[in-house]
Symmetry: D2
Subunit: 434 residues, 4 copies
Amino acid sequence: MKLCSKKWGNEKYLITDESDETLEKGLDEIRIAFNKMPVIQSLLKDFEKNKPLQDLVISCCLHVTKETANLMRTLKAGGADVYLCGSNPLSTQDHIATALASEGIHVYAWTNNTDEEFYECVDACLIPKPNILIDDGADLIVTAHKNYPEYFEKDGCIIACQEETTTGVHRFESMDKNGALKAALFPVNDASCKNQFDNELGTGQGVVAAIYGMHVLFAGKTVVVAGYGHCSSGMALRARGLGARVIVTEVDPVKALKAVFEGFEVAPMNEIVHKADMIFTATGCNNIIAKSHLDKLKNGCILANLGHFDVEIVAKDLYAAANGKIKTIRPSVEELIMPNGNKIYLLAQGRLANLALSEGHPAEVMDMSFALQAMMARYISENRQVLKVKHSILKVPDELNNDVAFAKLEAMGIKIDKWTEEQYKYHTSFEEGT
Amino acid sequence: MKLCSKKWGNEKYLITDESDETLEKGLDEIRIAFNKMPVIQSLLKDFEKNKPLQDLVISCCLHVTKETANLMRTLKAGGADVYLCGSNPLSTQDHIATALASEGIHVYAWTNNTDEEFYECVDACLIPKPNILIDDGADLIVTAHKNYPEYFEKDGCIIACQEETTTGVHRFESMDKNGALKAALFPVNDASCKNQFDNELGTGQGVVAAIYGMHVLFAGKTVVVAGYGHCSSGMALRARGLGARVIVTEVDPVKALKAVFEGFEVAPMNEIVHKADMIFTATGCNNIIAKSHLDKLKNGCILANLGHFDVEIVAKDLYAAANGKIKTIRPSVEELIMPNGNKIYLLAQGRLANLALSEGHPAEVMDMSFALQAMMARYISENRQVLKVKHSILKVPDELNNDVAFAKLEAMGIKIDKWTEEQYKYHTSFEEGT
Amino acid sequence: MKLCSKKWGNEKYLITDESDETLEKGLDEIRIAFNKMPVIQSLLKDFEKNKPLQDLVISCCLHVTKETANLMRTLKAGGADVYLCGSNPLSTQDHIATALASEGIHVYAWTNNTDEEFYECVDACLIPKPNILIDDGADLIVTAHKNYPEYFEKDGCIIACQEETTTGVHRFESMDKNGALKAALFPVNDASCKNQFDNELGTGQGVVAAIYGMHVLFAGKTVVVAGYGHCSSGMALRARGLGARVIVTEVDPVKALKAVFEGFEVAPMNEIVHKADMIFTATGCNNIIAKSHLDKLKNGCILANLGHFDVEIVAKDLYAAANGKIKTIRPSVEELIMPNGNKIYLLAQGRLANLALSEGHPAEVMDMSFALQAMMARYISENRQVLKVKHSILKVPDELNNDVAFAKLEAMGIKIDKWTEEQYKYHTSFEEGT
Amino acid sequence: MKLCSKKWGNEKYLITDESDETLEKGLDEIRIAFNKMPVIQSLLKDFEKNKPLQDLVISCCLHVTKETANLMRTLKAGGADVYLCGSNPLSTQDHIATALASEGIHVYAWTNNTDEEFYECVDACLIPKPNILIDDGADLIVTAHKNYPEYFEKDGCIIACQEETTTGVHRFESMDKNGALKAALFPVNDASCKNQFDNELGTGQGVVAAIYGMHVLFAGKTVVVAGYGHCSSGMALRARGLGARVIVTEVDPVKALKAVFEGFEVAPMNEIVHKADMIFTATGCNNIIAKSHLDKLKNGCILANLGHFDVEIVAKDLYAAANGKIKTIRPSVEELIMPNGNKIYLLAQGRLANLALSEGHPAEVMDMSFALQAMMARYISENRQVLKVKHSILKVPDELNNDVAFAKLEAMGIKIDKWTEEQYKYHTSFEEGT
């Protein structure tokens, strides 16, 4: 893999490979994913015709996967000038980046870039004065606030922002509370047709693919899932569906109770960490597998983080404890021998295992999430006057959410009921009682 | 059963029975339910000591069950003067009403009262100028708006209102949109520690009890569930958990998709109504089993409504079709012979089957819902100045919701994790990124 | 309830009630159950026409329920003279006994008979020199061996025997090993279309009905199931399907492993008995809840035995511990206060809770079990010469098993595939390989 | 990859690769699998010490995977001279074959060998006059009967045979019926600690790994499973556990009913083939996806066979229909464009997809199956006099089955209950009744 400034322009961070094979592979995978994204298909067609994003610069910080590629192509079809950096150093797929670059998207992403390079890439997406920011984890938008405050001023370029993931939304809520948010922000993650599908289904899918790729049986195992939010409860359900005994840890009392009433054992991590054959963390918080847990881990235990940032498992302490007795036994799977002789298997060095060990969330659900992102961008374009002056978190309009769901159902060949006029009247009246 | 004005006062609608046996039975059941309501237990103790509801009149329109009885006792322990009418003609349990009356609650409810009597009872709860209204289905509060508009004026008695159920909240949303709501209204139903437990678990529990009481097997049956909201999705899950094949109908595209991705078949009612061995409706809308479906129903089909109002199944048309060939084969179970010879089993005449055929939602979950109602009343009392001037739907404060959940976990002997200071700091910061 | 020798003959133990209402109720319930037993329906029709049991005396020891009644009616329709005693003192339903007597079945059974009466009833069924014995639990056949050894001799009346339940089959296997079995015995229980349906579905159904009848929620509870055979694994699955956390105890290592790989926690009773909110025993062995467990039971714990005999829970020791602090809070539900103050709820005094607290296994599955029993009797009749000389356990012929299943599928309107000739040829050849 | 006769002897079919890297990889994978096979570990240790297979020649026809390797090493450790050929052309992993050869096992297997080569390899395992045959699919033993009838004569080398899989056992049952079986045969497949684990869990695991490897979501899909035996019902359960809607096809009425009562839709293939997003066949019969179904397949449908032989899907007809429009989009995944334009995805050309697209059944369950095979060989060695004269299918002794299960539980750290003497006495007595 090398930087190439010849083929598709002279931008410094444009990552490509001269090999046609890589390009071919990328284009092919994007095409196959596109086949599984019918809602994106019809949007792209519509965008091509109506150019709703004409004259806009849209910068995105997203996992560079074949599904993201189809969102980028859709935004571009709508008339936007599109910039893309990767939202996680491990999740970028270089052949996809190459293919996207060949289609005229400005791509600043390559796998395993350093922290410094990561922020250079983010910066490269901010320099062209974007009008809309689409983020996954808040790094792009937070950096913009820090380094380009003028973009958010009255005459600045920014119209509004869109955020893809729970962790990012959480960061913006903190900003909003502190009065630090300087633009309208749509938490796309919070729309039901995003989080009830992408989050609940995608994460579990990725993890199951990862664990199955390791040729490990779920059935008969004791699986600890840290957290019981959208991603983690989806993971717990999948593990149970595959025959595992699942124990849940939580800090939120309502979520904990929900797990209890859905039949899961719930306990503090410290009391059950020694029983686990596998531990999955998806809490959005740090030190979930803490230093104090390390010598309690069972021989053979698999550790995987599903949360956005690599802070949930204390990977550094784990490596330190192994003291060099570390062996990579499969791609992204390390065997660490602890002082007590136990073998621990750490996935993806504690980073997003579901993305690092599989190909990311499946196209079928990303179709919904990214259709919503594309519709959101169109909505922002259409309402730019109104939105420019707002400085807070706004709700994704229900119509967009429903439009995505209707389109998905239709594409899947599933019909549902519609209210008759009489029913509509009944439903919208509050007078009729007992 | 007769009206008795001698024993506990001279109020016209106070329903009691002179038999000590009935009273005994009621008191006994209330006590057994109380044993299963640990959160209510500790609240009642606290209320007795601190009298947070001193000087308030609280009027309630709720299902008159042993669990409701324990809420009434708690409110009274807090110092309030408490009035109660039944929220559904079928769900009142007379021995509970009797027992409550003996404890000094003003009760206006008896089983199977007529529509006219129903509204007389509601009125009896409004005459004493209540400060707080606690409703289940909106009938009490809507009637108050109609007949006692002065209560909602600046110097009127009403401080705020509380609503227990989805249907009621929905009616208030319509009112709010139309500017017709004249008081602060807390949709207790919408708090997660209410709807994710009471609604999702209680309804299914009641229906399963009803069907099992009929000695009918779920396994191997084709079950149609109309709706995929909290109550109906809980019902679908229970039916599947018992071995039924479940088909879901919906009008909401997101809920429909959710059912699909959770493995259910989803289709319009008209296309699958003939396959059903049982149909459960819980949509909040009318004509779900419509006249046009009647001659398609399979021989032996069981029809049950779980929605608040008896409009979901066209019971009148069904009776008309049976043309007198109707036989009660168990309490609240009628066998109707249709013109095509098929036998249809209608539960509770199309009214709330889960309440009519079983004892209502189990004490374990009502503990949470009613603890929240009691805390809500205390909160209203404490914030009366602020709330008096609000005229819209307000959110139940998160602290109340969490307090209930923490108390429930503790009572169940379940420990959960707590953030360390370091974790708290991480979680509330938005700066730390990739 | 009183003995009546006037109405339907002068037999001493014929239990009836003079009330027409009781008779009416019994006949009505038998009719409703018959509607749900389509395979029995078509057999009865066929038996009426062809009289395959002409000249035979058939004596049965079975739970006297509405479903058993329809088996009795079918045997009688086939030409047999039919005698029936109850197989468990708690499970006899007197109105069913009354109704059966009115139809000419010789019934010797009433609810709650004493041990002495129980064996008098058994004897009454043996006196008329039966040709076929149909048993549930082995009491009838074992007693016949003891008291009427001449029946099993070369010229004796017995042709062959049929056993309905796991416990009975187990006893006959012990007899067979010891050379004590003196007739051909068909373990109907061991046929797949019996034990995979009746046992796996029926027991769980009965227990769920019982627990729901107590208005207790399964969701969120910790449920211990002792055993992981047909009945107990079915119970475990149902409890899980209703949202409980289930722990399994076993002595058989293969069954224990199966539970583990199906996601259940498995542990010795002694280590987890204190965690249980409910304990269900279905092992076929005694002292499962032993004296040493009693002071470990959690406050509120529900104890129920699903095994055939009342030896699995040490009820006597439990009553002794409660030392008079015993209160019946619902029919067949006793609250016992233990020396440590904990309240324990014992169902049916430790006898078959699923039968005592509900109406027995549902008609839909008994249709299969009893159709097989009826076909088995016909088969015995047709093969009497051959069978008379056999003295061991024989396998229920596969054709009978399949015939029941085909008939059931047809009655349910379910079509399945059939092999083409080419497929049949492939399947029955062993030559074609890789 | 090339044949190499230099390094480990001069046998013609010994497949190795001169590359040390391949050898290293094979040895490493065998070691990692060994870590997950605790029962095999302790057996190997015992065999090394006691040499129970001294002087025996054992020939095996098995899938050449890392788990099989550990069985081969165990047999060799027991003193046997061990020969191995692959049981399926697709499932042999060449680096494993290489590694095994380096340890002194006579290996005759390489991936993708032709039919002719396949039988040459089988023959190579028969030439050395084996005493025990261990087979997977019956090819080795059937070929021995055909080509080496003298081995089965009174003074022939064969003592007894062992069969690993359902299909093989089925073929032997046909032979046995026809009097064609000339040796004692132990259907290891039929032991509960084999088929209830390996078959029910392993197949589903492999398929899920395969489908997830294709980055396809199970949730929301309609999945057709042909068959409801051990493998197929396990597959159906997994698909449901992952959120798919599952439809089952069967020819056996009892299995079909079982599927119905477990909540699955059951229908003839022809009526539902057009609804399937994925079809999995595991019936043991041919033409399950027949020529007549091909033009009904839905666009995007995935076809995979899980049965032992590649006859279940008419792959030839499928290729013919695609008429050259065939593209390999991932390893072992072909996209075929049908005359109607629909894209069909065929896995592994219709051969065992779960083995071809994943690494075979996981070590955790193969530990049990292969421990049983090893114990079986020891048992045959110990009972050679008795077994030599038997010519039929014998039952695997219960003790072996239980020994494996006890050892597995111990290795997993799971304790279970043991009968007290009193319980044992109760259980083995038949006298104690009601």
